[in-house]
Subunit: 120 residues, 2 copies
DNA sequence: CATTTATATATACAGGTATCTATATAAAGT
DNA sequence: ACTTTATATAGATACCTGTATATATAAATG
């Protein structure tokens, strides 16, 4: 009548530890890291606004278009664009001196579906 | 025929600067900050997984239930829960020694709708 | 029933790391 | 030459996570 050993790492339903043993880690670590990286790219107000600006263009939005809307230096804008690009939220292609940016819809849809699963 | 002054802060369509002058800052700064704060709370893989675990419970998920799923110390778990709580992604209420957490659906829906506007 | 023991949670602090933004500079197209 | 964009660097600030500690409740035991 004493549960003896196994004080930790138990998953049996007879354990007094854990109010709800049915909770499962549905999101594996690597997937959680991928999601977190996308969210991190959106964790700055300037980048939220930048992505919204880019989403308004038809893939023709260039850096100077974005720059006009912020009280930030050009290297700082360039940095934020790089963060969005490396996260996979936008793609960028050079056209002469200009670089045109467009949103990656797949990434946004992925985030949307995650959020959907988390509020039933 | 020369545009003279007004080298910066121009919004007039006659400005040679800016390939696409129709782009508008649809998201005001305070709103962008609010969104960024929510995204920042989700910018860590552990918090993504934690929110998913909490979303599985019926508002009865306690800290110890969460703790079991991570190789982190209790204060670290407590810290991450605090981040989620202060961002408004979860609410927490004490029941005796336990604290029960539940997701804030409004916050998740808000993020979802933002993402929706950004991929048309 | 009182007293100890264990459990759940929170706070304070600190070291290491990452992020933000500016200045300075470079490269390349028009 | 002028414009667009990128990189390097650096200082200030913020974030992550552990150790140490505190509090309050529950459980156990005499």
């Amino acid at each position: 009548m004493d549960r003896a050993i196994n004080l930790v790492e138990t998953d049996s339903p007879s354990t007094r530890r854990g109010c709800d043993p049915t909770l499962q880690q549905r999101i594996p670590t690597e997937m959680a890291e991928a999601f977190a990286n996308l969210f991190k790219a959106l964790s700055h107000p300037v980048r939220v606004q930048m992505l919204d600006l880019i989403s308004q263009g038809e893939g023709e939005t260039c850096g100077c278009d974005i720059e006009r809307h912020f009280a930030l230096t050009q290297p700082t804008i360039s940095h934020h664009l790089k963060v969005l690009r490396e996260a996979g939220l936008i793609t960028s292609e050079s056209h002469g001196v200009w670089v045109h940016h467009r949103v990656n819809r797949q990434a946004l849809e992925l985030l949307q579906s995650l959020l959907a699963t988390m509020h039933k």
